[in-house]
């Protein structure tokens, strides 16, 4: 690979225009739309889509199954994909493994996923579960540096795909089990040295500190932003969604809104300074983080071009903001069964109903803790003007298990109920109303989504990988995978051919038109 091509990829990624011969970062570009302008595969020929290759990635260790929840990068004919503790470089023409990097994470944290790598020149970046930022030579997989950025003994664990903005490698902490503070931070791409660190919960005297009873509660308040954010190069703002407050499920020791948890925040990527925020769930007690990708939309509202940001949240609401200042333009309930809020306040935020917090004898709440939706990537198509998201309509019983005035860790427990319905939903971004809704015949998901200028929406359900008519919501094509889709599908052209790549469990699939 040449550095020239990578730098070209980075420059292009800096604009909202998607690049077509690469997938250079987590969302394919900085906008988070996961929309490709490619049209070679389209709604008239998608029925001829067939398998170009598939490969089963090999785990570096025995003992647990690989699950590709990472979005692969594809640059210059090489795919880079990860799972917990593993990075693979795969020949995008054949599916053959070029190299593998493996490093076992140590500690008591749960064995969760990894969302992928970032690329800067000839260097790759990824985080280990035990909180190391690792840089690898993209050509060989040889480790260049490893820098620890959070202590696994505190039960921090990291899964985020880094994002490179100029000379900043932006990462964040994860781990909401033991009431630890959460951070977004930037590291030097050459040395791994820390450039800045922003704590999600404010220190005493800072704006937002008044939304916590005291510094002790704030510094144990969590809010881990464990999904990669988005970036507007004109405004020089990095947008990221933050996680739920800790302790989880009880607000007893943290009365107040608990800023900046469950929020969309805009940070200056050069300094880590907070520029604006919008809290989508004040004082969360249901484990509904707001880490879902804040998608950047260059849209039109009342005839005027606007710089917008949209997020369909785990809490069951669709939020549309002015991304220059964070002002709310629209909040719309997208989950019909939602029952935890008393409506919206004048800022456009849901008002949590205290009666629907977890109680010792059980509280019947929709959605369940897994949320109306979750981390699997959503998509926005500027062609249709629709925001696409997988949702779950269901109820759970939420039981408070820790009645202490100073609860710790998980202070509640969930009992799932039956009769859940799942759907693929297209939302008109201007109104928040459903443009179309496809109820799945069996519950499950949500799964990752990709949309393209070929009027296609690619996603999965059950073990099917499917293509929909993005405008109308009709099923156009499907195939059966060995496992359900576990990542966000991507697309690009290579040698003049458009490919669609999907990860399912330990398998990676490449589809192209049958000639």
């Amino acid at each position: 690979m040449t550095a020239r091509i990578c730098i070209a990829a980075l420059t292009l990624a800096a604009s909202l225009l998607a690049q077509t011969d690469a997938w250079p970062n987590y969302n394919g570009d900085y906008s988070g739309r996961r929309f490709s302008p490619l049209t070679q595969i389209n709604d008239t020929n998608v029925q001829n889509l067939s398998l170009a290759w598939s490969t089963k990635v090999k785990n570096g260790a025995e003992g647990y199954a690989v699950r590709i929840s990472a979005t692969p990068l594809m640059v210059d004919g090489v795919l880079y994909v990860t799972s917990l503790d593993n990075v693979w470089a795969i020949d995008a023409r054949t599916g053959r493994e070029l190299w593998r990097y493996y490093r076992e994470s140590k500690g008591d944290m749960p064995r969760t996923g990894n969302r992928g790598v970032a690329l800067y020149g000839k260097w790759l970046y990824f985080v280990t579960l035990d909180n190391n930022l690792v840089s690898l030579d993209a050509a060989t997989g040889k480790q260049r540096f490893l820098v620890n950025f959070a202590d696994p003994k505190h039960l921090f664990f990291s899964t985020v795909a880094p994002l490179v903005i100029r000379n900043h490698v932006i990462i964040a902490t994860g781990g909401d089990a033991l009431d630890i503070p959460a951070y977004v931070q930037a590291h030097d791409p050459e040395t791994g040295a820390l450039q800045w660190k922003w704590r999600v919960t404010p220190a005493p005297g800072q704006p937002g500190a008044q939304t916590w009873p005291n510094e002790y509660a704030a510094s144990h308040g969590g809010g881990h932003p464990w999904i990669t954010g988005t970036y507007d190069s004109d405004l020089n703002l990095y947008y990221v969604g933050t996680g739920n407050p800790d302790p989880v499920g009880s607000g007893e020791s943290r009365k107040g809104d608990n800023l900046y948890t469950c929020s969309i925040v805009a940070l200056n990527p050069d300094t880590g300074k907070l520029v604006w925020h919008f809290q989508v769930s004040p004082h969360d007690t249901h484990d509904w983080d707001a880490v879902q990708t804040p998608i950047l939309i260059d849209g039109t509202i009342n005839g005027k071009p606007r710089k917008l940001l949209a997020q369909a949240g785990r809490n069951g609401y669709f939020t549309l903001l002015d991304r220059t200042n964070g002002r709310n333009l629209l909040t719309k309930q997208i989950l019909p069964t939602l029952n935890w809020s008393k409506g919206l306040n004048k800022l456009g935020q849901p008002i949590p109903d205290p009666a629907k917090e977890p109680h010792a004898d059980g509280t019947l709440v929709s959605p369940p803790t897994s949320g109306a939706t979750n981390w699997p990537p959503h998509s926005f198509s500027p062609q249709t003007g629709y925001y696409y998201v997988g949702i779950n309509e269901g109820f759970s019983l939420y039981y408070l298990t820790d009645p202490d005035k100073q609860p710790q860790g998980f202070a509640f427990r969930e009992a799932g109920l039956g009769g859940n319905k799942s759907a693929l939903l297209a939302i008109d971004y201007k109104t928040g109303k459903p443009a179309w809704k496809h109820y799945w015949r069996s519950p499950g998901g949500p799964n990752g989504i990709l949309s393209t200028a070929g009027n296609l929406l690619i996603t999965g359900h059950g073990s099917y990988l499917m293509a929909f008519d993005a405008a109308k919501g009709k099923t156009l094509w499907h195939t059966t995978l060995a496992n359900p889709l576990t990542n966000g599908p991507i697309t690009y052209t290579l040698d003049g051919k458009q490919y669609i790549i999907a990860g399912a469990g330990e398998n990676l699939y490449a589809f192209a038109l049958d000639h």
């Binding site: 059980g362 298990t401 109920l417």
Partner: protein
Amino acid sequence: MKLLFILALALPLAAQLPSRAAIAGSNLDEAAIERGGALFATQCARCHGPAGRGTNPATDLIRSPLVRREETSEKLASHPNATLTKPQINDLNVWLKLLLFSVFSKGNQDFLNILTGDPRKGERFFTANCAACHSVKGDLAGMGEKYDPTVLQSLWLNPRRAKTPRTVTVTPPGITGTLDRIDEFTLVLKNPRREIPLNDDSKVEIKDPLQPHYDLYPRLTDADVHNVTAFLASLK
């Protein structure tokens, strides 16, 4: 069980730590847990609190990373206010691990008392909404004896499926049968066994005997839930 006695000793107020669910789920040595718990109650709880959450100025053992470091044993060995042998330190380490596991491990928390409802109101709700299909002398006889209240509460809201076959009609071709399984593109019937491909235009109507339970959720108040549970728990 002896362990429960120790729990009662160590945790007069904070019922939540360590949870029985954590003891079952942690894979820690039960004998060491018993010894460590007894030791904690007599040697540590006075300052660090019955659940290890600390008192001013004694350290919160749950949120402190101290208890998760290799040097924990050294700290314990040189503790200014306790004299501990090496085997005792090992037992205490096990107990601390358990306290911690009870906190950070999702789903390993114990339920508190959930029987707060009014059984008479629950009975009225039952008569109005449930009695068409269920009888307290028939299928529900003795429910309160058979099940723990938490299980009971989940069970009446979301009954097990085993004995309740779903009938399905699919058009085209216009066939009715018993549902085996369904996904986006395939419907499988049993009796007679048939596999029917589905597309966007297939009309599938499923008659699920459990559906009336799911249909209740949006209109149930939490008081309804607790009252019905209290009523069912009273069916001895």
